[in-house]
Symmetry: C2
Subunit: 331 residues, 2 copies
């Protein structure tokens, strides 16, 4: 069976093939010492020909850099993490920085193990992400000897944090519904103890004014259906549009309206929040919804950690990144 | 701002605090040389007290091991990858092995960049995963100098590969429907060019025999709805059960039946495949479906790559891991 260093070329092989000493080969590859330019060129050409890889571990030791960062997340579904991880990776891959992905599954023991392991292998920095904006990292994070960037999570004061601009996201959705001439816009959303739910609701209330009505519940399709049942039972002036706090809620809302012979967008226009395509593209009709641009959020977090790891300074505080509206058929 | 080595304790600090030479401190921590047992103990205690971390990079150099592996996936959604990654991580975290997650987004340039980067940092091995069983890795994989394990992907001949047992998974679903006394079981599934679709269909045909009927289409809810429309238009003997090739297809099937006043499981029992909870728990009624046990698949792949990296031998060939049936309300 394969072994871990089977076939790996060493500096010794390069020196032999180039007909120089190991010291000369090493100097040539590292661009140090007083080796003649033509020798440097020859050593490098030979190294490439025989497939020698300069040892990243050794270079890391020299520079006290591992050129790796850790991304710690409490998310196991990957719904939020994977797009962010793709953005982080996009920002870093061209700099030769790789990403250790550590899913803690909300298990403090696992979180500590991952953190120990990341420190042990001397990652240059850590990106902490979560499934909710107001999730705080474990207390160990406060005293880490390396830079930390927070994305879609609550960092300590003065930390570098990236969040989607939930207020602006809610605003473009509600303005879109208003732009369609809708006058009685209802907001059905998730749990009020989520910061994102409160921010979006406040933004909605500000635009809709005195006619506003927010129904908090949870982040499920079931709550969307249940909320519609409550609204229809009231019997009073029906909404002509519903802004939903998530795509899953929107799907429940649309299904329940359909069951009652009420069609979207003709009778009631529907907007969602997430642009989670597996849901948003499958509602009938397909869902108009807010996209939090999570990949861009990840890219920004990746660039920030890269700057911090290079010793460059990054403005501390929370950066809000704009959301976009994806218009499909439901509004 | 934080810098990459701010606050990191060095071997120098340990030596000073323990009142010994750097060489002695180093020997004590590495368990080499002829240092007295009490000195070794003192150095180690002091190292722990001041928060010194033995340098994983340096240890990696000594042992030619980085104690890191790469996991390369073409999957960006994370639906299949994240549970597998959780399993891989679970198998490796206690061995101090971390996982670089590299999503290629089906982009060959990105795949090459990630592979270069992983080799450059001398990972001990690679796990290749994909979104379909028959996806082959890029040609570069054939000649890697380190072990590779394939999970939910098609490895070269004689490679170590882990797949869910799709035939057995289909069998337990169909047997469950038969156990409910259903006589006319239809199979609605995804694209026939997917190996998994063909294996599941063959397994279904074998059990159902002469009355079998397979409708290939794609892996979407929309196809589930369209297939039901075709079945109802035929008008001939209706199925009393439908085995669906994915949860999304099953959701489309259930919704379309509901729209036509046909209820599950009373009129037609429905079984899915995937146990993707975001879909399977939200159908009305909740879906009885096959779980591919992807976390266990990841755990097995993690253990295999760990053995290979240790130079232990692992039986080459394809290992099929059993699926389980999650019984909810639809059948």
């Amino acid at each position: 069976m394969a072994e871990s260093d089977k076939g790996r070329r060493t500096i010794r092989d390069v020196a032999k093939a180039a007909g120089v000493s190991i010291a000369t080969a090493s100097n040539a590859l590292n661009g140090i010492g007083r080796t003649k330019a033509e020798t440097v060129e020859k050593v490098r050409r030979v190294a490439e020909e025989i497939g020698f890889r300069p040892n990243a571990l050794a270079r890391g030791l020299l520079k006290r850099r591992s050129h790796a960062i850790g991304m710690i997340t409490n998310d196991t579904y990957g719904r939020l993490t994977l797009p962010m991880a793709a953005g982080v990776s996009e920002a870093l891959v061209d700099h030769g920085v790789s990403v250790f992905l550590c899913a803690t599954n909300n298990d403090p023991r696992l979180a500590r193990l991952h953190l120990e392991s990341l420190l042990d292998r001397q990652v240059d920095g850590i990106i902490f992400t979560a499934t909710r904006l107001d999730l705080r990292p474990p207390p160990e994070f406060a005293k880490l000897p390396i830079p930390v960037v927070y994305a879609f999570a609550e960092g300590p004061k003065e930390s570098v944090t990236f969040h989607p601009d939930d207020a602006q996201g809610a605003r473009i959705a509600v303005e879109h519904l208003q732009g369609l001439g809708r006058q009685r816009i209802l907001h059905i959303t998730g749990a009020e103890d989520y910061k994102a739910a409160r921010i979006r609701a406040d933004s909605y209330r500000e635009l809709v004014g005195s006619g506003s009505s927010v129904m908090f519940g949870d982040w499920s399709e079931e709550w969307g259906r249940e909320a519609v049942a409550q609204v229809l039972a009231r019997g009073s002036a029906r909404p002509d549009a519903i802004f939903c706090g998530s795509d899953e809620i929107a799907r429940g809302v649309i299904d329940a309206l359909r069951d009652n012979g009420i069609s979207a967008p003709e009778d009631i226009a529907i907007a969602g929040f997430d642009n989670w395509e597996i849901v948003a593209k499958q509602t009938r009709p397909p869902l108009t919804t807010v996209d939090m641009e999570l990949k861009e959020l990840g890219r920004r977090a990746g660039l920030a950690i890269h700057q911090l790891c290079n010793g460059e300074s990054v403005e501390p505080g929370q950066t809000l990144l704009p959301c976009s509206l994806v218009v499909r058929k439901s509004a």
